[in-house]
Symmetry: C2
Subunit: 204 residues, 2 copies
DNA sequence: TGGGCATCGTGATTCGTTTCACAAGCGCAC
DNA sequence: GTGCGCTTGTGAAACGAATCACGATGCCCA
């Protein structure tokens, strides 16, 4: 499946949920409007799912949701860990949207001894040793990294060594990882700077 | 300048900072390695800056930084506001990396009366009325939106009506905005779901 | 039961981006 | 000074994705 398509599937899922259960069926055109993409593009994307829309009618909303979820691998909840429970890590730990999206935060971990044992959203912050054990025990494959940039590479190496295969990295650091490990970078500064570019280059 | 290029410029800036001041000069190849892109791509990107590297030598590190900053419109600090000071908004307010990236959080705003007046990282949380006044007074053009998804559209409309031109939206909601307003979406669930896709479709 | 309409699926086309490949240019060593 | 090695800048080619355009098809209603 093309990379560009994969990156739009979660969008479609979100749009379908936004549409709600007023309609039992959705046309590529309707979905395209909500998602802000071209309707032919939507159809081509959905065709990769082996999805079968009905000509003259559209796609069955619930079935399409299910297919998207299946394609994205969201049939079961993924266990994930959060490493680095500072400002950002705590905010993520408190976030209630994980469940709805198909994920389950099974633990919070930090290197700072003074934080260990503290509770965030009902979960106890655990040590880095616990992290290694928990990942192995629960076969966790996904980690959210919210340590300072300086510690990110070191922590990532450790995560990889104990079996993590996907990392969502919030630290502004470019991780060197084996190419068996998939990483996505979320960088606030980058986003703002891109906005800055367009802001600065406005026809005034 | 191509969209794809603009989105890489912040990356280059970050890489240059990571390289540090050990080297006075950087080759496209060196930068490409750190950034994880093709070196011809780097050269083509930098050529849009009107940048002049020196054949046989490379680019002057400091001059290149300055050019990138200029291209991105980071010559002065942009004033930004944070709207919705909950878990995530507070984390962002506490974040110390804004300054280094070229931004200055001038105010925090929330609709919840019980939050107004509370301090986060030394700043008082202010009311939505103050928000309107402050945006107009300081001619703020960029806003960070961290309200619940349900309130996002309404708040965005208000922001636009008082002059905001760029929005960084963390709420999982698709904003309808006039096309004079630029918006970037940061969506945790989307990122995790993309990772989930690749995780699920691994050759096992 | 058949005609018309809405909508899908998809080949062909266009567009934007990445990569390749190499001539041109600079600096340094001898 | 002259030659050699390194690195840029960029046209051309390859690639991937978005869009167009339209035939195929199922549904609804007369
Ligand atoms: N806070 C934000 O809004 C924000 C925004 C964008 C990016 N970031 C990035 O996210 C990361 C976290 O930001 P923050 O504001 O939460 O920082 P923070 O300092 O509040 O939290 C970092 C946490 O990581 C822990 N830590 C440090 N070294 C560790 C290690 N080796 N192993 C495990 N844990 C370790 C610290 O004890 C601390 O609890 C930083 O890299 C920051 O640049 C934060
Ligand atoms: N917390 C996270 O880690 C996280 C992760 C991804 C996405 N998000 C999204 O970010 C947004 C904020 O998340 P959060 O966890 O901080 O939620 P939160 O409920 O803690 O904070 C939301 C804040 O917005 C304020 N607010 C509500 N309505 C408002 C209005 N009309 N105008 C101004 N302020 C208003 C609330 O008073 C509250 O302080 C949500 O949309 C959430 O889905 C959060």
């Amino acid at each position: 499946m093309p990379k560009a398509t994969v990156e739009r599937l979660p969008l479609y899922l979100q749009c379908l949920q936004a549409i709600g259960d007023s309609e039992t069926t959705v046309s590529s055109d309707a979905l395209a409007n909500v998602a802000g993409v071209n309707s032919a593009n939507v159809r081509k994307d959905l065709s990769y799912l082996g999805s079968h829309g009905v000509r003259g009618v559209g796609y069955d909303r619930l079935e399409l949701c299910a297919q998207l979820r299946r394609a994205l691998g969201l049939t079961d909840k993924w266990p994930v860990v959060i490493v680095g429970v500072g400002n950002l890590g705590s905010a993520l730990a408190n976030y209630q949207g994980f469940d709805a999206s198909g994920f389950n935060v099974i633990g919070l971990y930090d290197a700072d001894p003074s934080k260990i044992g503290a509770r965030v959203d009902g979960q106890r912050i655990k040590s880095m040793e616990d992290l290694e054990l928990d990942i192995k025990k629960h076969e966790v494959q996904m980690a959210i990294l919210t340590t300072p940039a300086g510690a990110a590479q070191e922590v990532a190496d450790m995560l990889v060594s104990v079996g993590i295969l996907s990392i969502l990295n919030f630290a502004p650091a470019l991780l060197k990882l084996p190419d068996t490990v998939k990483c996505r970078q979320v960088d606030l500064a980058t986003e703002l700077q891109i906005l800055s570019y367009y802001q600065a280059s406005r026809p005034t």
